[in-house]
């Protein structure tokens, strides 16, 4: 058996379709991760509640609606409130550089812009994992 990387893929907000989220979910699966796919229109509360129940290692949240400066801080605050601040948040979507910088200052691990090849977040996650889960338990 042994530990698998569990990652929640969410697309909050009322915008658009979930094609992008499904593409990234499939890429994560093909990288060997267990992907919890939560569908469209998730609120930060729903995202964090799902992340806690699913005991994920990483939350991958893509925001295209421009609401990233409210959604990410809210997710980070809720994680802290639920005692899950150790869960790692990464983001994607259309996010201006200066906002991305601010979000990373608040604790978002990385932001991947539109058109980033899926190998980039996958490599990032694997690196993060290596750094944080070296101890083996069985």
């Amino acid at each position: 058996m042994g530990k698998k990387i569990r990652i929640l893929v969410a697309k909050p907000g009322l915008d658009g379709h979930d094609r992008g989220a499904k593409i990234i979910a499939t890429a994560f699966r093909d990288a060997g991760f267990e992907v919890i796919y939560t569908g469209l229109h998730q609120t930060p509360e729903m995202i964090v509640d799902a992340a806690v129940q699913e005991d994920v290692d990483i939350l991958s949240i893509s925001v295209l609606s421009g609401a990233h400066m409210t959604i990410f801080p809210r997710v980070l605050a809720l994680l802290k409130e639920k005692g899950a601040a150790d869960m790692h948040v990464i983001g994607g979507g259309i996010i201006p550089d200066e906002d991305a910088e601010k979000l990373m200052g608040m604790g978002v691990g990385a932001i991947f812009g539109p058109g980033t090849p899926t190998t980039e977040p996958i490599d990032y996650i694997r690196d993060w994992w290596m750094k944080h889960h070296q101890e083996q338990d069985s």
């Binding site: 058996m1 698998k4 992907v35 796919y37 569908g39 699913e54 005991d55």
Partner: protein, 333 residues
């Protein structure tokens, strides 16, 4: 070697802390305990041992059927209904693991929007991780975690299954089989096994053409099946439109009737559960024996050292297996 093993002691302590947090209703502790159990860690084993006496009171219902039949939708509606009755509900939803990458997409939550902000409902997705029975190898243990956390009902949604993946029957008190009008012809060729495994039949998507015909098929198949279910439980067939929440009340009633039938005869319930636990213990022991023996006899290294010669037809696999076994017998005296 036993008393002073620090890793073991640390695992015990961690398990105890986890069990305490669980007893205080901390949702993250439930989730972490399930992860430990799922990953087969030492902490997970200690944890299960600690909470075992607190389990065995919940009602476990298995929901199975082909992909897309509406299992998640039904589980969601059923869970909401039970919540309105004041029951605490735990859900385990299993999806397949990709045999190529070992990864999985677990998408059942999409149909379970109610799982937010309600402490009486807990939904956990599980990947089958190579187990072929329609559930994960650790779904049983995960349901014990939920029981220990005080959930009254455990709903277990299987991978969308064919006809032979019926392990859920071993986990559940009551097994619900979902079919859809399009399954009509499949029912005629269904093996007796699946007809006997289901305690309740649901014909979902009854808003579509062919539902009545499917009910007739099922009834006919049930008559043909050999009725030696003792005490004569006759599986009901319920028409349902899960997306409109129609017919789910009846499913709830039938589950209640089945449980009442099971426990109407104290001996029957005890025997059924005892038999299931005995089979479970066998599974656990077999798994532990294989893993233990595998490691102890350095099978992996020896296999790697020999596989080239076996593949080259220089040594037969039969002789090699014999040799390993002989060495093992000698070792264990």
């Amino acid at each position: 070697m036993t008393a002073a093993d620090p890793a073991r002691e640390r695992a015990r302590q961690e398990a105890r802390a986890l069990a305490d947090r669980l007893a205080h209703g901390e949702r993250r502790a439930i989730a972490q305990a399930i992860s430990h159990v799922e990953d087969g860690t030492r902490v997970g084993r200690h944890f299960l041992d600690l909470v075992y006496e607190r389990t065995g009171r919940a009602r476990r219902v298995g929901i199975t059927g082909p992909p897309g039949a509406g299992k998640s939708t039904l589980v969601h509606v059923l869970a909401c209904l039970l919540r309105r009755e004041g029951m605490r509900v735990g859900v385990l939803a299993v999806d397949p693991t990709s045999p190529f990458s070992g990864g999985a997409i677990l998408g059942d939550r999409v149909r379970m929007p109610s799982a937010t902000g309600d402490d009486g409902l807990f939904v956990r997705s599980m990947a089958a991780r190579g187990n072929l029975g329609g559930v994960a190898a650790t779904t049983y243990e995960a349901s014990e975690v939920l029981e220990a956390a005080g959930f009254d009902w455990i709903l277990i949604e299987t991978v969308g299954v064919g006809q032979s993946e019926l392990e859920v029957v071993e986990l559940a008190d009551t097994t619900v089989l979902l079919l859809v009008p399009e399954s009509g012809d499949a029912v005629q060729v269904m093996k007796a096994g699946i007809m006997e495994a289901a305690d309740i039949f649901v014909v979902n998507k009854f808003d579509r053409e062919g539902g009545d015909r499917l009910i007739t098929h099922i009834e006919t198949a049930l008559q043909l099946a050999d009725w030696n279910r003792e005490g004569g439980w006759r599986p009901p067939v319920c028409p349902v439109i899960a997306t409109r929440e129609e017919g789910v009340d009846e499913v709830r009633q039938e589950i209640g009737r089945h449980l009442a039938w099971l426990s109407g005869d104290r001996e029957r319930l005890q025997r059924v559960r005892r038999d299931k636990i005995e089979r479970r213990v066998r599974v656990l022991l077999r798994r532990a024996l294989v893993e233990g023996a595998w490691a102890m006899a350095h099978i992996e290294e020896r296999l790697q050292a020999e596989i080239g010669r076996i593949a080259a037809r220089e040594v037969s696999p039969y002789r090699w297996v014999e040799k390993i076994l002989r060495g093992w017998r000698y070792r264990t005296g």
